[in-house]
């Protein structure tokens, strides 16, 4: 967070107004440095997802300046958006794999921006791209599933394939939009550990949206709190105590907010199958 280094991502009074007139982001100023691991917390509708999607232009911002690396995000130029997106990997709550094709081909979708269109259309990828895809799968530990149909994998495995797909882009930034909300708590922790490890090993700047406060505290370098499209909290993880989070949520914490740690402890002591926690 030193100002001497250039920022990886910077928001300067960025607004997002959706076509229906709903305000997604309101006057957001934010500076994210290279290699940071940031967790965004906030209630549903607080603007977490909008913030992430503004970074790679999936949601166009309507005013202000948004910069990724040394390039200003231009939501109106398809060509520049594609170039930007090739540098920004993204993973989703529902994994978003193509279920009918193999794991390897799902990961190869991440190589699209570096692949000539005719090769993509034929499904005939270059050997070096396949090698990159295999290395990405190795990094998340499921290289042996390369030729299996994506639909046959479990939720946790599917999310790892999605991470491999993002890694295959060789990205500078990784955006994770509620990556563990569809997973049971032990699997969720494994996926977050993977993300954390990749952040450390490859130095990829990572922004994660999370619901569970305990997971945020466990993995983040820095916690950002959002409410009503505004950033209402931004501090190193040590300062994100219960009082701070109650301020973000504007209500007292419930057991549900901190569900993560309880489940992990349970899982550690009795060796898994925490059926009661699978809501």
């Amino acid at each position: 967070m030193t100002d001497s280094r250039p920022a990886m991502i910077s928001f300067e009074s960025v607004d997002v107004v959706y076509p229906g007139g709903v305000r997604g982001l309101a006057d957001v100023d934010l500076r994210i440095d290279d290699g940071e691991f940031i967790v965004i917390v906030g209630l549903s509708g607080a603007g977490k997802s909008t913030l992430l999607r503004a970074v790679n232009g999936l949601v166009p911002y309507t005013s202000g300046t948004l910069t990724v690396g040394d390039e200003v995000v231009d939501p109106h130029s398809r060509r520049r958006l594609r170039r930007l997106r090739s540098r920004v990997g993204m993973i989703f709550q529902s994994f978003n794999l193509v279920s009918r094709i193999s794991v390897l081909h799902n990961v190869l979708v991440g190589r699209s921006s570096q692949t000539p269109t005719w090769r993509s259309l034929l499904g005939w990828y270059r050997p070096e791209d396949r090698e990159i895809a295999f290395q990405s799968l190795e990094r998340v530990g499921i290289v042996e599933k390369a030729y299996v149909r994506a639909s046959t994998l479990s939720g946790g495995q599917q999310q790892r394939v999605a991470i491999a797909r993002a890694l295959a882009q060789d990205p500078e930034v990784l955006l994770a939009d509620e990556p563990v909300a569809s997973l049971d708590p032990p699997t969720a922790h494994q996926v977050l550990q993977d993300l954390r490890r990749i952040n450390r090993e490859l130095g990829i700047t990572t922004i994660v949206n999370l619901h569970h406060l305990d997971m945020a505290r466990r993995y983040a370098d820095r916690v950002i709190g959002m409410r009503g499209g505004r950033i209402v909290f931004d501090a190193p993880v040590e300062e994100a105590d219960d009082a701070a989070v109650e301020e973000i949520y504007q209500r007292s914490l419930t057991a549900d907010d901190v569900a993560g740690s309880v489940d992990l402890d349970r899982d550690g002591s009795d060796g898994g199958a925490p059926g009661a926690q699978d809501r």
Partner: protein, 338 residues
């Protein structure tokens, strides 16, 4: 505990004395319906064109009028008994009245089927004695028919797939393009296969000019484009958008996104539609042959002009067999696809 069980038993004994009852529709509305029924009956009697009647010895009643009248009264009675709302009953009566109007407008009657039977005699005789040898004698025309269907299915479905990708807002470059291609598809679809047949036969010349099968193939291609673009386009509308968004987020171009995230999702549906159009093409190519596009249909036209009903009979039977075989084959393949 035991008393509760006791209570439950006793309440179960008397069925629903306290149950809410469906409110009875107002008597006034049903009186109005009765009046409508009366008007309808008068209308039936006044407009009937049928001469058929039911005789009960001393007197006789016109057949069609009695059927329609009984239907109207039955609907009214059933509606009252089931406490149906008056609007629904009125709707059913309107349907009966519309059918009456349509049927009497075209003078619909089944009586020629038995009254003019003697005229059909030679036709029926011919059909009952099919000339089996004729099927084999025109085998080359069978080949033409099947070949037309194969070529037209392949070309038509590929073009249809491209148009479907252009037509769906999911896979189209802009909403503007999507609207335009959708409109074009509607126009293509609005002309029936026989219309295309007549058009291309007129343009290229029919069997006499040696271009019959080509005209037939072109007609079938247009017919297939319409069907496949419509069905596949609707399948694309309903694909899972998640993978499409993921591909977009990784920097894929539109073509790459469609190839990687849309096509795999719609492929089973598309193959199924392709097999379905192949079935349709076998049937349609016969009809197209009749307007001069070659194949077995052409044979039928020629035999019809010679009044060789036993030859036509054999062709018809063989056609049913071929269509059933193709049906069965495509059903088997389609089952494996999903």
């Amino acid at each position: 505990m035991s008393t509760r069980v006791e209570e439950r038993r006793t309440t179960r004994g008397e069925p629903g004395s306290q149950r809410p009852v469906r409110p009875r529709p107002s008597v006034g509305s049903y009186l109005a319906l009765l009046a409508v029924a009366g008007v309808l009956l008068v209308l039936f009697v006044r407009t009937t064109t049928s001469t058929l009647s039911l005789s009960f010895g001393l007197f006789s009643v016109p057949l069609t009028v009695s059927i329609a009248g009984v239907l109207v009264v039955a609907v009214l009675a059933l509606g009252w008994r089931l406490r149906t709302g008056p609007l629904l009953v009125l709707g059913v009566m309107a349907v009966i009245a519309t059918c009456w109007w349509a049927g009497s407008g075209i003078g619909f009657t089944l009586s020629p089927l038995w009254e003019d039977l003697h005229r059909a005699r030679p036709v029926v005789d011919g059909f009952l004695n099919p000339n089996w040898g004729f099927i084999v004698r025109v085998w080359d025309q069978w080949v033409v028919t099947i070949a037309m269907a194969v070529v037209a299915t392949t070309v038509g479905c590929l073009i249809g797939l491209l148009l479907a990708l252009g037509a769906s807002p999911v896979s189209s470059p802009t909403t503007w393009t999507s609207q335009l291609i959708k409109a074009a598809n509607s126009v293509v679809r609005s002309i029936p296969d026989i219309g295309y047949g007549l058009l291309f036969v007129a343009m290229l010349g029919g069997t006499a000019g040696g271009a019959g099968p080509m005209a037939g193939v072109l007609a079938l291609v247009m017919f297939n484009i319409g069907i496949v673009a419509k069905l596949t386009g609707e399948t694309i509308d309903s694909v899972d958008l998640g993978p499409v968004e993921a591909a977009a987020a990784s920097g894929a171009s539109l073509a790459q996104r469609n190839r990687a995230a849309v096509v795999p999702q719609i492929l089973p549906g598309f193959f199924s539609y392709t097999l379905y159009t192949f079935e349709l093409n076998i049937r349609a190519s016969v009809v197209l042959g009749i307007v001069g596009a070659g194949g077995v249909g052409q044979v039928i036209t020629v035999q019809l002009s010679h009044f060789s009903y036993s030859n036509i009979s054999a062709i018809m039977i063989a056609l049913v067999a071929v269509v059933l075989a193709v049906d069965y084959l495509s059903l088997t393949i389609r089952r494996r696809l999903t």
